[in-house]
């Protein structure tokens, strides 16, 4: 290691710490919050739909799939025929 390298070693390592943490925590927050997120979304979507017409809770499916590169949120709402006809 050069003399200059010896001098700067340990300098300005704080920005590295900050950046590493920001990337890591973004990932970890998604993982930790993920288990509940799909359930919360399902509840809230159901509540919104229920304001306008009665709906069977089994007809709203919320799926959260996490991949390394891409994550998908799939919301499948089966509309009851009768409710649509009335509106």
């Amino acid at each position: 290691m050069s003399f200059l390298g010896f001098l700067v070693r340990g300098r300005r390592s704080a920005p590295v710490a900050r950046d590493r943490l920001q990337i890591l925590l973004q990932h970890e927050r998604a993982l930790n919050g993920g288990a509940d997120l799909a359930a919360i979304l399902q509840q809230e979507i159901l509540a919104v739909i229920a304001k306008h017409f009665p709906i069977d809770r089994d007809r709203v499916v919320v799926k959260l799939d996490r991949g390394d590169q891409i994550s998908t949120l799939e919301i499948d709402i089966e509309m009851p025929e009768a409710a649509l006809a009335r509106n």
Binding site: G10, R11, S13, A14, A17, R18, L21, Q22, E28, N32
Partner: protein, 272 residues
């Protein structure tokens, strides 16, 4: 209206017990009736840090299990008469704490004290969960260091999901107490700055406790630093944090160290 505060961090060794004792003492010095509760069953230390280790007769587990009455287990501080300690058991493990029992003890403490300060054990298991369960607000103790910040982030997630308040859809206030902070090193880019940590954790700042040999001196003699050395930088920082808890608007003094180029170079060489 009494307030239940949990002092928590996830990671061990960041200063939860020191901070519980110091904040508790500072709140009591400001005239409030305060009890500090040690939840670290099996590894109790709050008694030692507060200088009451020879006065422990009954403990939290005894009260939770109904083997002792609360007044029998409470130890009143000899220096500040509005400050009390409820020690943890040294011989049991954390599974001796039941949610129902802890809830009952906290309710009883609320009746006699303005502030109930719960010193959480490290980790995310039963002891830590019980310490945070009934909290109205949380003090998250963090060192400006990667593993501490990561663990604090995890604990903040738990405060938002596993506490009674969170489950009831109520707000649980969380505030950051940054301990062992070295302003000079942060200014040189060797340590994350206050703003770095605040930006990552995204909770309001309660206080910045500077790295200081006075903190060890205080725990050596079993006296909270706000009492042992109130004029020290760390003592003043804890007192300011306690006053912010009490709702006072206290500016954060910037303890930045101004150093010239020569002293910076010299300092770095000496430290390397």
């Amino acid at each position: 209206m009494s307030k239940v505060v949990v002092v928590t961090s996830g990671k061990g060794g960041v200063g939860k017990t020191t901070s519980s004792a110091s904040l508790g003492a500072a709140l009591a010095q400001a005239g409030n009736k305060v009890v500090v509760v040690d939840f670290d069953v099996g590894l109790r230390n709050l008694d030692l840090v507060m200088g009451a280790e020879r006065r422990v007769v009954f403990d939290l587990v005894n009260v939770v299990q109904g083997d002792a009455k609360l007044p029998q287990a409470l130890i009143r501080d000899k220096r500040i008469d509005t400050l009390s300690l409820l020690p943890a058991s040294q011989t049991r493990n954390k599974d001796a704490l039941t949610e129902e029992g802890v809830g009952r003890v906290i309710d009883e403490l609320r009746e006699s004290f303005d502030w109930v300060v719960c010193d959480s054990p490290a980790g995310i298991e039963t002891g830590a969960m019980m310490a945070m369960r009934f909290a109205d607000l949380a003090v998250v103790v963090t060192n400006p260091e990667v593993s501490s910040v990561r663990d604090s982030d995890r604990i903040i997630g738990m405060l938002d999901s596993k506490t009674l308040r969170a489950e009831n859809g109520e707000r649980l206030e969380k505030q950051l107490l940054l301990t062992r902070f070295d302003a000079a090193r942060a200014a040189r880019g060797e340590m994350m700055t206050v703003d770095d940590v605040l930006e990552i954790l995204a909770i309001p700042l309660l206080g910045i406790i500077p790295e200081s040999p006075d903190v060890l001196s205080a725990s050596n003699v079993g006296c909270p630093i706000t009492l042992h050395n109130p004029g020290s930088a760390a003592g003043r920082a804890y007192r300011d944090a306690a006053r912010r808890l009490l709702g006072e608007d206290i500016a954060f003094s910037a303890p930045r160290e101004r150093r010239g180029l020569i002293s910076r170079l010299f300092g770095r060489k000496a430290a390397a």
